[in-house]
């Protein structure tokens, strides 16, 4: 895996393959996943999750699912898990788009629960899938241990149980004998090792020190294929990775500055520099596999003459552009930030600094809106929930302080629409508003790619490249 969770408290995790996803899925499993192509619910712990009006969603659980401490995973456990996210019972909890939408949670029977939303959302399943709401904790264990101890000794209903953990080195998990899927997991022991260096992660598979990894860009996949490994690109994601402008601060409170920077950058060239040309540079907000794709709605990029004219216009008004890009020590992010800086150095009237800082500092800066431009991720299989959370004025991850009524209107229309045509209309107007507002530079789209040695199979990804390990095992 790419990086490691800070602790093992699900409320503190971001459900991504590059963050808390792998450990949480191994220990807690997932309520359900959503098919990235059809949008259908794929049952796991939950047998179904459905709505008839977009406002009231009904969750039906499988009978007989037990936590690894022997207690039942029932509707009460789901309510308990969701309430502790909503009530802020956990220190350092990540803002959850799903629980922000919840109004009431009602237990119908031991295996059925309904959740009523504050406003209709026909795509609420994506919000539940892509946040900590997909992981259900054992209420008995939380009450017995307390939140702090639970974060070190979590109890879930996943395919594996925590055996030992050495932070930033490895986590050893052993088979859960009471796992609800008979005959699974296939492995007796699963060892997860964080490795932020993509090349090293691949080398560890080639040399037999590890058996599987996953990637979101494709750069590693090219090398892996050359090494004869089993590479599978499961699905692509919408939106993408961005360098976000903070519209609450100068100079990016002026749309001309945002537009000028976006137009000045040749992202294909940066793709060559950072990813050796392996990444997909978004030309439109949605890829051509999306029902909301429109080839005419292109994102502003690589128009150096227009950019120069805008920079000159701003300088003539006494506002030469000067800003700082905050970047993490992560190689990809800092390389990308320096590539932006280098390209903009060829224009007059622009001065760019790159501030490389540790992750904790950057998270603080992001949450306090204390930055000018920084890296963020708005990628998911559907526009929901990543784009809503990131760009809607009340969104849980609106770090760039975007307050644009046209964007809000488009996103709200996309969220509340009950039919595909209305949804498409909403997202077309949203795309136009994004092109006009220029909230970010869209650097590359993500894909869900698994890389496995020829001795193993069954690693599956869902949502934002979050891996599931129950079917992962040795090929007999």
């Amino acid at each position: 895996m790419v990086s490691e969770a800070r602790n093992l408290e699900p409320a503190s995790q971001i459900n991504q393959g590059s963050a808390g996803g792998p450990l949480m899925n191994a220990i807690f499993d997932a309520l359900f996943t959503v098919d990235p192509t059809s949008g259908d619910i794929q049952p796991r712990i939950a047998a179904s999750f459905a709505t008839t009006d977009g406002r009231t969603w009904t969750l039906k659980l499988r009978d007989g699912v037990k936590f690894s401490d022997g207690t039942a995973l029932d509707a009460e456990a789901v309510r308990f898990s969701w309430e502790r996210l909503r009530n802020g019972d956990v220190k350092g909890a990540v803002a959850s788009d799903a629980v922000r939408q919840m109004d009431t949670i009602t237990i119908v029977d031991p295996l059925t629960l309904t959740v009523t939303l504050k406003a209709p959302n026909w795509q609420f399943k994506y919000s539940v899938q892509e946040g900590a709401t997909v992981w259900i904790v054992s209420p008995t264990a939380v009450r017995a241990q307390g939140a702090d101890a639970f974060a070190q000794h979590p109890v879930g209903a996943g395919p594996f149980i925590l055996k030992s953990r050495t932070p930033n080195a490895q986590t050893v998990l052993v088979r859960n004998p009471n796992y609800w899927q008979t005959g699974l997991p296939k492995l007796d022991t699963l060892i997860l090792r964080p490795n932020p260096d993509r090349d090293q992660a691949l080398d560890s598979i080639v040399t037999g020190q590890a058996q599987a990894t996953y990637d979101g860009v494709g750069q590693l996949a090219q090398r892996a294929q050359a090494e004869g490994l089993n590479v599978q690109s499961a699905y692509g994601m919408q939106g993408g990775v961005v360098f976000l402008f903070n519209q609450a601060k100068a100079p990016f409170d002026d749309v001309r500055v945002r537009r000028a920077v976006a137009l000045a950058l040749n992202l294909d060239e940066i793709d060559q520099q950072v990813f050796e040309g392996a990444a997909e540079v978004p030309k439109t907000l949605f890829s051509n596999s999306s029902p909301f794709y429109d080839a005419s709605l292109t994102i502003p990029s690589n128009q150096p003459e227009q950019a120069k004219a805008l920079f000159d216009e701003l300088a003539a008004e006494g506002k030469p552009v000067s800003f700082t890009i905050s970047a993490s020590t992560n190689t990809v992010t800092s390389t990308y930030a320096k590539a932006i800086q280098t390209q903009l150095s060829t224009y007059g009237n622009v001065k760019v600094e790159v501030l490389v800082a540790d992750s904790a500092t950057l998270v603080r800066a992001q949450q306090n809106h204390d930055f000018q431009m920084m890296n963020a991720g708005y990628a998911s299989v559907d526009p929901e929930p990543a784009l809503y959370a990131g760009l809607q004025s009340t969104g849980s991850n609106n770090y760039g302080s975007v307050k644009d009524p046209a964007i809000d209107e488009g996103l709200d229309a996309g969220r509340t629409a009950s039919d595909q045509e209305s949804r498409r209309a909403g997202y077309l107007s949203f795309q136009k508003a994004v092109i006009a507002n220029v909230p970010a530079v869209w650097t590359h789209r993500l894909q869900a790619i698994t890389i496995q040695a020829d001795t193993v199979a069954g690693l599956r990804l869902y949502g934002p490249s979050s891996p599931l390990f129950d079917g992962f095992g040795l090929i007999e």
Binding site: E269, Q273, Q341, T342, S345, E353, A357
Partner: protein
């Protein structure tokens, strides 16, 4: 060059006749010459970087990751980096940054360290105990951890780096000066100065410090070599000189991601660091040898 002719006794059994002579020639100091030439070249380039026909080290000059000698144009003779910037230009401007930072850190550290060492070695008693405690505390901190902490707390900049590297050099200079001061304070001429009623301040700065400086000066090249490596380590960790300014450490860090496809991005600055550290250590060793001989014979 001196040539000594030593008469020898005739070995047993050797035939009588003209006595054989053996000639010992003092070896030419090629190492010193090469090391001096490299350091002079580096300093010369660093000082004259602005007037040399070099590209702006922050701006692209061509396609990314061009290999050395793909073009003989001065800008591209050592190739280009990940961002299409001239590697030669960045190495030379990096030399300026590295030498400036390390020389400043060494100078500040030497002044501060010598003053503390002088205080400890000359005043002794409470001053010695206090300074020794301070030195021991600074030495107990792992250098790279200390530098990372400083770069994290303060915003990374040239002055932050200089400050951090200064802190690293203070204990070494203080300890060196303390030892020298303890030794020189017992010499007859110091006792004589005391008997003539010279003040403690005068003895410290007119008698002890000038004499002990010789020891300190011989240590300077070695310290600078160590600081260049420390700067490189910090730059490699992404906490050195902020981009787009060039330094050897940040060049190595920037090239790390491309090591597989464009190794020259790392190898060129790494080779320059290697040669510079080797040259400075050689220079330090030779200077020390010569000054020690002089102090013994003089």
């Amino acid at each position: 060059m001196s040539t000594d002719v030593l008469p020898t006794t005739r070995p047993a059994g050797a035939s009588a006749g003209k006595p054989r002579t053996y000639t010992l020639r003092a070896r030419r100091p090629y190492g010193l010459w090469i090391a001096s030439a490299w350091v002079l070249l580096l300093v010369g380039c660093a000082v004259a970087a602005d007037v040399l026909p070099l590209a702006d080290p922050a701006k692209p000059v061509g396609r990314a990751r061009q290999v050395p000698f793909h073009s003989l144009a001065p800008d591209q003779i050592l190739g280009t980096d990940t961002y299409g910037r001239s590697v030669l230009s960045r190495v030379i401007f990096g030399a300026r940054t590295d030498l400036l930072v390390t020389l400043c850190a060494c100078a500040f550290g030497a002044v501060l360290g010598c003053l503390l060492g002088l205080l400890a070695g000359f005043v002794k008693g409470w001053a010695d105990r206090a300074v020794s405690f301070l030195i021991d505390t600074l030495l107990a901190l792992p250098p790279i951890i200390l530098l990372i902490a400083i770069a994290t707390i303060l915003r990374p900049s040239t002055w932050t780096l200089t400050f951090g590297l200064t802190l690293l050099t203070v204990p070494a200079f203080a300890r060196l000066e303390r030892g020298a001061a303890l030794s020189w304070a017992e010499r007859p001429f110091v006792l004589a100065a005391r008997s003539y009623g010279a003040s403690g301040l005068r003895i410290a700065f007119r008698q002890i410090l000038p004499n002990s400086l010789l020891t300190v000066i011989t240590f300077v090249p070695t310290v600078i070599a160590g600081l260049i490596v420390a700067e490189g380590s910090l730059g490699f960790l992404g906490l050195g000189i902020p981009p787009p300014a060039a330094s050897w450490g940040t060049m190595i860090a920037d090239g790390r991601a491309s090591l597989r496809i464009a190794p020259h991005e790392v190898l060129v600055p790494a080779a320059v660091v290697f040669l510079t550290v080797l040259a400075l250590n050689t220079l330090g060793e030779k200077v020390r040898d010569r000054l020690e001989i002089r102090s013994r014979t003089g």
